[in-house]
Symmetry: C2
Subunit: 429 residues, 2 copies
């Protein structure tokens, strides 16, 4: 291929990033790809903004990209679902390759779109959909292709990580930290997608699919967000040597495939515990390599453009073979996972409570790794007749933990809802 | 390509790792590559060891691999220089693709071998030569191909990092830590290549070449090892909030390309500071992505095999386009780099010494970031008439620092050799 002609759809931060990166680094991109990559047409539903379009033709009509015979590949940078989905369908019909950063679309409609593209031997690149500029899909698909992956654990939503970092460093409560994230532009006015784990679940769907060769299946991902995490849990966890992070986790073992996003206590010594602010990081455990980790900016116009241009270069190099997503692996119900747990039990401050709790855990075969009965601190709710009992358990089946928690919750001395957060197992990274 | 037929040369830990990985993960490898990858012939100069060679024919004569028409690609896992170099030359003549983990060969002879292979449109894969199983060359060559790289900084020699970690954690001196590394099999009986930076310089030569598109040029790499690092420097650095790591660093700026390996003080908060033991980690700074980092096992049979099999899969997928290594960029002399410095100045314990030192630094325009005059500790040399003056400077041209150090060394009150270690600049990762 001597020339790759790009139709760019969308001129927000990502679209502008793609334009400027292709211009700024044109020489090295052509050297590395062996091909001139040129944006020949740009479409945006809003009026043409003040950006240098070079020789590209501008339209406000998206279909112009699809109808332009000179366009080889469409870069979709409009986001959202409906318009993008319809663009994908018509682009595939028109035999255009597609590159996108649209995680929701790939996670929720990939099962339809990817085979459509493959049937016409078209390339569909979505490196930018997961972990921004970190080339994590390339690592899974190619670099580690000789490995059987057993686990992926990642911080893949920068907004949640920013909020948890702020809560941890400044002692802010959730609402204050969310407000700060919104003021800084890291969180949307309606932050639901980020803070309830939907965005992370989209990204995890895609990683799980490539790591295990299974069809995209967003609906089976277990989701918990960070809005229930309290400042006191972060403090107690810290006292015990943990940080609370929002993780996307997939594991594959004899019981099946577990794909889930939820908050977790991560031991201080683990690299993931030290990933702060809006950074993303993904840890992969695989049979040949062992534990490896990939870290970088998970969002932003230029980091996202970096991945889109990487996909364009793959297309130019002819590195377009898709991994078949055809394996059928049973999905585990969240009740069947095994995990250690952090419990915060609000209990009347009198002798015997801890014994009752320990007795129930013991009956369920749950060992206690650490326990502390906390004094109220200055900022805690000033009720003096109860204390939070903090327990870290050993590994146990979640189903068993649920049964034990029901019993503990019913104890007369337990005066409020028990907080329960999973604890990541120790690892070398 | 339906079938890729491998001739494996060498049955040490790496060769055995490749054999077992190709067998164990045959199904997913063929799924991801779209091709059956089969070892058809194995050569090893020693007698056939007790490993399952499946259907492969065994020879003790290496040339049998080259002369076997059924072999498409030779995996070189014998290491060393002479035999490997001769194998590469004859393999290229016989139109065989080559995959290797041999960093010395690629760094020192790549400038001859790579164009030879390209002239015959043969693939030469050497992902395994750098950072073991971390697919760092793929990241530089493809994932970040849209970026202009400005800096690479990595912990790329596990032996040195193990020794520095042991010195830091147990307070061992260099010799004790080296002995421990040797006892555990992390260091060779003759550890020169690892501890004097030669191995790291080989790997850095290769990374610099791919990142900047320049020919491999091992001879121009500036090299300092870790044998001069003392336990007290590690302690003083720690007190000031730094760890001492052995880094491979390339930087590209208007003054040219600097490629160097040396010990450096890394601020505690940086991810690189927390990479312990035999782990490898590489940080890349580039224009679009920003700072990103890649971490994992840097050595061992299976991690190395992971990268070799990754290269085999690239070959099977047809992802074989080499980045041209043709750019001419001036190499900076080490005297022209800019860095902050840690200085340990053994000086007579009397008033006025610090003033003299500060005066010389000031005359040279060097600002002081931190200074402490240390008491001797229990394990230090028990001479009571001198103290180590510890200084961290601001950024300055190394040439200027050298001039200042010459003057300071000549002061009558300075009673021994000044230790000087570069300090890594702060960064987001």
């Amino acid at each position: 291929m001597d020339k790759l002609r790009v139709g760019l759809c969308g001129l927000g931060t990502v679209g502008q990033g793609v334009l400027s990166l292709l211009q700024k680094n044109a020489e090295i991109i052509s050297q590395r790809s062996g091909c001139v990559i040129e944006v020949v047409r740009v479409a945006s539903r809003t009026e043409k903004p003040q950006v240098d379009l070079a020789a590209a033709i501008f339209s406000t009509r998206i279909d112009d990209l699809v109808e332009d015979d000179s366009v080889d590949v469409i870069v979709e940078a409009i986001g959202g679902s409906n318009a993008a989905l319809s663009l994908f369908r018509s682009a595939i019909s028109a035999k255009k390759h597609i590159i996108t950063a649209n995680k929701a679309l790939i996670a929720e409609h990939g099962v339809e779109l990817i085979p459509l593209a493959q049937d016409k031997t078209l390339f569909m690149g979505y490196e930018a959909a997961v972990a921004g500029g970190i080339p994590i899909l390339k690592v899974l698909r190619e670099g580690l292709a000789g490995n059987t992956v057993s686990k992926i654990a990642g911080i893949i939503n920068g907004t949640s990580n920013f909020i948890l970092t702020a809560m941890s460093q400044a002692g802010d409560d959730f609402k204050t930290a969310l407000k700060e994230a919104q003021d800084l532009g890291y969180a949307e006015a309606d932050p639901t997608f980020d803070i309830e784990g939907v965005d992370a679940a989209h990204k995890l769907t895609i990683m799980a699919s490539l790591a295990f060769g299974v069809p995209m299946d967003f609906s089976s991902v277990y989701m918990e967000g960070i809005s229930t995490i309290s400042a006191e849990d972060i403090r107690y966890a810290s006292d015990l040597g943990y940080r609370i992070k929002h993780l996307g986790i997939c594991t594959l073992d004899d019981s099946g495939l577990s794909v889930r996003v939820h908050p977790a206590l991560v031991p201080d010594g683990q690299m993931l515990a030290n990933v702060e602010g809006v950074m993303n990081a993904v840890k992969i455990e695989s049979d040949a390599l062992g534990a490896s980790m990939y870290m970088g900016p998970g969002a932003g116009g230029l980091p996202t453009a970096s991945s889109i241009v990487g996909d364009l270069i793959d297309l130019a190099r002819g590195n377009t073979r898709a991994v078949p997503l055809v394996n059928q692996i049973d999905r585990m119900d969240i009740a069947n996972i095994t995990s250690a747990y952090y419990l915060r039990i609000p209990a009347i401050d009198r002798p015997g409570v801890l014994a009752e709790v320990a007795q129930i855990l013991s009956v369920h075969g749950i060992s206690i790794e650490a326990v502390t009965q906390r004094e109220h601190r200055q900022n805690d709710v000033p009720e003096n007749d109860w204390v939070p009992v903090i327990i870290i358990t050993d590994q146990v089946l979640e189903f068993t933990m649920n049964s034990a928690l029901e019993r503990i919750q019913e104890l007369g001395d337990v005066v409020g809802d028990i907080a329960r957060i999973r604890v990541e197992s120790p690892g070398v990274l």
